[in-house]
C-alpha cells in the first residue's frame, strides 16, 4: 500500500447538500440545480471562493447527458471557478470523491468544492445515452444499453444464487419504506410486494419497479485537509478508505454473476481503512443499487456476506441488520452519474447524526459504493468515519 499524507494527514468531508431528486426538474437549468446546493455548502461552512477559501472545484457531470461538449464550461460561475481551478470527473460521483480527496492528500489543495449534476429528464430517454457506451460494430447493432446489460447481469446472478423475484420485490418495498424518511428522496410512495411484482417486465428479469427511476438532481460537498477541517465544521467526516477497479468491457468476458472489480476495489479501500471484518465493520452501508438485484450482488462483492450467499443474506434480513440504504438507495431515485455520490452524501449525513428518523444511532463507520459503466464495469468503494 502506498504512503499516506504525512503526519496523520486525512481528508474530511465538512459539508454536504443535495437537491430533492425529482423525475423532471423542467423548471430549472442544471446550472440552477447546482447553485442551489453550492450556496448551501457555502452557508454551512461560511466559506468563500478564492485564496484562503475554496481553492478549487472538482465537478462531476457527463457531456452526453448534458448534450453539451465540455459541459463543465457552463458551470464555471456557479462553482466559483472563475480564475480558479476546476477539473471534471466524467463518471459516477464516487469517482469524483476519489479524485477530490487525492487533490488534498497530495497537498496541492486544502479546501475543495465537489459538485455534481445530472438531468436525466433532458434526453428523450436515458437508454439512448447509455446505448452510446457500446462499441459501434459488435454491441450497438444488437441494441445493447445499460438496461439490457443489467438484465443479463441479473439473469446470471439470480441463476447462480437463487435470488427470487419476490426477494427483489422486497428490496424495492424496503427502499420505498426508508425513502419516506429521506427528505430528498424521489420515490416515496409505498408499494407492496404484489405491486412490485405486477410492474411491467422491461428486460427479464428486470421489471420497471426493479429499476432506478429517471431522476434529476445535484449534490455538493466541501472536502478539506485535516489542518483546515476544524475551521469549517465541528462534525467532520473522514475519508479513511478508497478503492476502485475496472472489469472487462464485453459482457461475455466477465463473470456477470460475480464481482471481480468490486472485490478488488473493496479490498483496497478496506486495507487502507484497516477494515478486516467487513460484515460487522460498518454501522451504515450505502450500495449503488441501480437495479434491485444489485443490492445483494454488490453486498457479496463488498464482503458484507459470503460470495454466492445473496439469497440467504436477503432471507436473513441482511439489509436491515447491516443498515443498508436507509436513504432509499438508488432505487428511490438518483441520476446515474450521481449514484455513488449520493451514497457518500448519505453516509456523511448519517455519520454527522443528521439523518433524522432514519438515523442509525451511534454510527461510527460507513461504507459507500458507486458504479459506472455497463453492469457496473467500474466500481468505487469509499469508507468514511466520524
Amino acid at each position: 500500500m502506498a504512503k499516506h499524507r504525512g503526519a496523520g494527514g486525512r481528508v474530511a468531508i465538512c459539508a454536504v447538500a443535495q437537491t430533492k431528486f425529482e423525475r423532471d426538474k423542467w423548471q430549472v437549468r442544471f446550472q440552477g440545480m447546482l447553485w442551489e446546493v453550492v450556496e448551501k455548502v457555502l452557508r454551512q461552512t461560511g466559506l468563500q471562493f478564492g485564496a484562503g477559501g475554496i481553492e478549487a472545484a472538482v465537478t462531476v457531470s457527463d457531456d452526453v447527458f448534458d448534450a453539451r461538449t465540455i459541459s463543465d464550461g457552463a458551470i464555471t460561475d456557479v462553482v466559483g471557478a472563475h480564475h480558479q481551478s476546476e477539473e471534471k470527473v466524467a463518471a459516477d460521483g464516487a469517482q469524483g470523491v476519489y479524485y477530490a480527496a487525492a487533490t488534498i492528500l497530495s497537498n496541492h489543495h486544502d479546501i475543495v468544492l465537489l459538485a455534481g449534476h445530472c438531468k436525466e429528464s433532458q434526453s428523450a430517454s436515458r437508454n439512448q445515452i447509455t446505448h452510446l457506451a457500446f462499441d459501434p460494430f459488435y454491441t450497438r447493432p444488437v441494441g445493447l444499453d445499460y438496461v439490457a446489460a443489467a438484465a443479463l447481469q441479473a439473469q446470471a446472478y439470480m441463476a447462480r444464487t437463487g435470488v427470487t423475484e419476490a426477494q427483489l420485490a422486497d428490496v424495492v418495498v424496503r427502499s420505498r419504506k426508508w425513502a419516506r424518511e429521506n427528505p430528498v428522496a424521489q420515490e416515496t410512495a409505498a408499494v407492496t410486494r404484489e405491486q412490485a411484482l405486477a410492474a411491467p417486465m422491461l428486460a427479464a428479469p428486470i421489471r420497471q419497479s426493479f429499476m432506478y427511476p429517471v431522476s434529476d438532481g445535484a449534490i455538493a460537498m466541501i472536502l478539506a485537509s485535516e489542518e483546515r477541517a476544524a475551521e469549517l465544521t465541528d462534525r467532520p467526516v473522514w475519508i479513511t478508505g478508497l478503492g476502485n477497479c475496472y472489469d472487462s468491457f464485453f459482457l461475455g468476458e466477465r463473470d456477470l454473476a460475480g464481482n471481480f472489480s468490486l472485490e478488488r476495489a473493496a479490498k483496497k479501500a478496506y486495507e487502507m481503512a484497516g477494515v478486516t471484518h467487513p460484515t460487522d465493520a460498518f454501522e451504515v452501508v450505502e450500495i449503488a443499487d441501480q437495479y434491485a438485484h444489485q443490492q445483494p450482488q454488490y453486498a457479496e462483492g463488498l464482503a458484507l456476506c459470503p460470495a454466492r450467499q445473496g439469497a440467504k443474506w436477503l432471507a436473513d434480513g441482511g439489509p436491515e441488520k447491516q443498515h443498508v440504504n436507509r436513504s432509499g438507495g438508488m432505487l428511490a431515485g438518483n441520476p446515474l452519474i450521481l449514484g455513488g455520490m449520493a451514497r457518500v452524501a448519505e453516509a456523511v449525513i448519517q455519520l454527522r447524526g443528521e439523518a433524522g428518523s432514519r438515523q442509525v444511532p451511534g454510527a461510527k463507520r460507513a461504507l459507500a459504493h458507486g458504479a459506472t459503466g455497463p453492469a457496473g464495469q467500474l466500481q468505487t468503494v469509499v469508507v468514511l468515519e466520524n
Partner: protein, 152 residues
C-alpha cells in the same frame, strides 16, 4: 433560486451530429469474413489460452499481440445467458419483444451478445444449443449474423 419559476419553460431541440466509425484492420478482417464467407473468426491469446470473439488486436490482460493468431470458430454454440427485451428504443435491431442472448460459439472461450429467435413458445435456457443464421443482405457489422436460432 433566483427569479420566479413562472418564467421557466422547456425548449424542444436535439443533439444531432454525423459520425463515421472505423472497425480497424482486425475488426474489418472479422466483419468481411462474416459478410462475404459466412465464416466466424476469433483470435487466440497464446499466453492466456483464450479464444476471443469478437477479435481484438491485443489481449487486454497480457498485452500479447493477437493479429497473427486467427482461428476459425464454429457457427454453433450454446447459450450462457439471456434476457427478453420488452421496451422499445429507436436503435433496437427489431421490434420487441425479442431475446438478447450471450452465446459461446464452439471453439471460442468468450460469449458475445446477439439476438436469439425462438420458434413459437420455445423458451431459452442456459446451455441450450444454438446456431447462427447469416443475413441475406450484406451487413458490415455483427448483424452479418442475422440472429441465432435454437438447434433442433
Amino acid at each position: 433560486m433566483s427569479g420566479e419559476t413562472e418564467y421557466a419553460y422547456v425548449v424542444e431541440g436535439k443533439m444531432a451530429l454525423p459520425y463515421q466509425y472505423f472497425a480497424g484492420a482486425v475488426g474489418s478482417k472479422f466483419l468481411i469474413a462474416l459478410r462475404d464467407e459466412k465464416r466466424i473468426l476469433g483470435v487466440r491469446c497464446p499466453k492466456c489460452e483464450t479464444t476471443f470473439v469478437p477479435p481484438r488486436q491485443t489481449c487486454e490482460r497480457c498485452f500479447s499481440d493477437l493479429t497473427s493468431h486467427w482461428v476459425d470458430v464454429g457457427s454453433s454454440g450454446e447459450i450462457t445467458g439471456y434476457t427478453v427485451i420488452n421496451y422499445k428504443e429507436p436503435y433496437q435491431p427489431k421490434e420487441p419483444p425479442y431475446v438478447l442472448a450471450l452465446i459461446k460459439l464452439d471453439g471460442a472461450d468468450t460469449p458475445f451478445a446477439h439476438i436469439l429467435n425462438c420458434a413459437d413458445g420455445a423458451q431459452p435456457a442456459i446451455g441450450m444449443r444454438v446456431r447462427a443464421v447469416f443475413s441475406k443482405e450484406p451487413k458490415d457489422n455483427i448483424l452479418a449474423i442475422s440472429h441465432f436460432e435454437l438447434e433442433p
